[in-house]
């Protein structure tokens, strides 16, 4: 089973977690000023990265907290996990772990 390092609880089995989609998306401050294309871009368009991907996870059956993770989508390896609010670590594919 894949072990995911929760930044609060440490390494825990994958089935305790739920996936939360791409990380670091910032909601536009005033959506009413956007045109439909820009709003649709925020709502639906994702990078679909091949390689290192920053994404949100939630330790739903554990501490219940959301956190961010860097995962290599080609190998499914977790390169880093970090708490919400912390900056994205600079790690290239094939980095740590």
């Amino acid at each position: 089973m894949l072990l995911i390092p929760c930044p609060h609880c440490g390494e825990r089995p994958e089935i305790e977690f739920t996936y939360g989609g791409e990380a670091h998306l910032v909601r536009p401050a005033d959506p009413s000023t956007l045109d439909d294309a820009a709003w649709a871009d925020y709502l639906y368009m994702r990078t679909n990265t091949k390689g290192v991907h920053a994404e949100r996870w939630r330790h739903a059956r554990g501490c219940g907290r959301f956190f961010n993770a860097l995962r290599d989508t080609t190998t499914d390896r977790f390169l880093a996990t970090y708490r919400i609010g912390e900056p994205r670590p600079a790690i290239a594919a094939g980095g740590a772990r």
Binding site: E16, C63, R65
Partner: protein, 182 residues
């Protein structure tokens, strides 16, 4: 106020290695550091940094579930209303949430030399004493049910499980135990 409907308590099997625990008072606490420190003056609560640790004082225990969340356990003789009142007056105006969940879940005790193996039949955590020492507690999964698991002694575990899942969990553990206990 209309009389509360009778509480449905699932009848759970007992064995040498498993027994349902008597009713208890349970509170779900969520709050920041200020609320936590204030509540800890009247009830044993683990520090926010004491990850996955339970803190006991006699028959009362506070279980760390998350950096801002605790499960408070006390015997049923400690009424939930009295406990809520004591905690609320201690916490005062600090932002928090305190909910009586006594009837939401039931307790199961799993004990004996095979307890680790029986639980590991449905729980993916490493339950060896080195990785999951006495006093450690966490929310996790038992097959398809969510549980709170607490190691109270080297060979004693307390499982807190929502009561509609309790019969399923107990039956599953019995099935697993056929491999380990005669």
């Amino acid at each position: 106020m209309p009389e509360a409907p009778a509480r449905h308590v699932p009848s759970l099997p007992s064995a040498d290695w498993m027994s349902p625990l008597p009713p208890a008072t349970r509170l779900a606490f969520q709050g920041g550091l200020a609320a936590r420190a204030a509540a800890a003056r009247v009830f044993p609560l683990p520090d926010a940094q004491a990850v996955c640790q339970a803190r006991c004082d006699g028959d009362r225990a506070g279980l760390w579930l998350g950096p801002d969340e605790c499960l408070l356990l006390a015997p049923a003789t400690t009424g939930a209303a009295a406990l809520l009142e004591a905690l609320r007056s201690a916490i005062g105006t600090a932002a928090h949430s305190l909910v009586d969940v006594s009837h939401r879940q039931v307790g199961l005790e799993i004990r004996g030399p095979q307890a680790e193996r029986i639980l590991n039949g449905a729980c993916p955590l490493d339950l060896s004493l080195e990785q999951f020492p006495v006093g450690r507690c966490t929310r996790t999964v038992l097959a398809k049910a969510e549980i709170v698991l607490w190691r109270t002694q080297a060979q004693h575990f307390r499982v807190e499980i929502w009561r509609s899942f309790a019969a399923y969990a107990a039956a599953l553990l019995q099935e697993i135990a056929r491999d380990y206990v005669v």
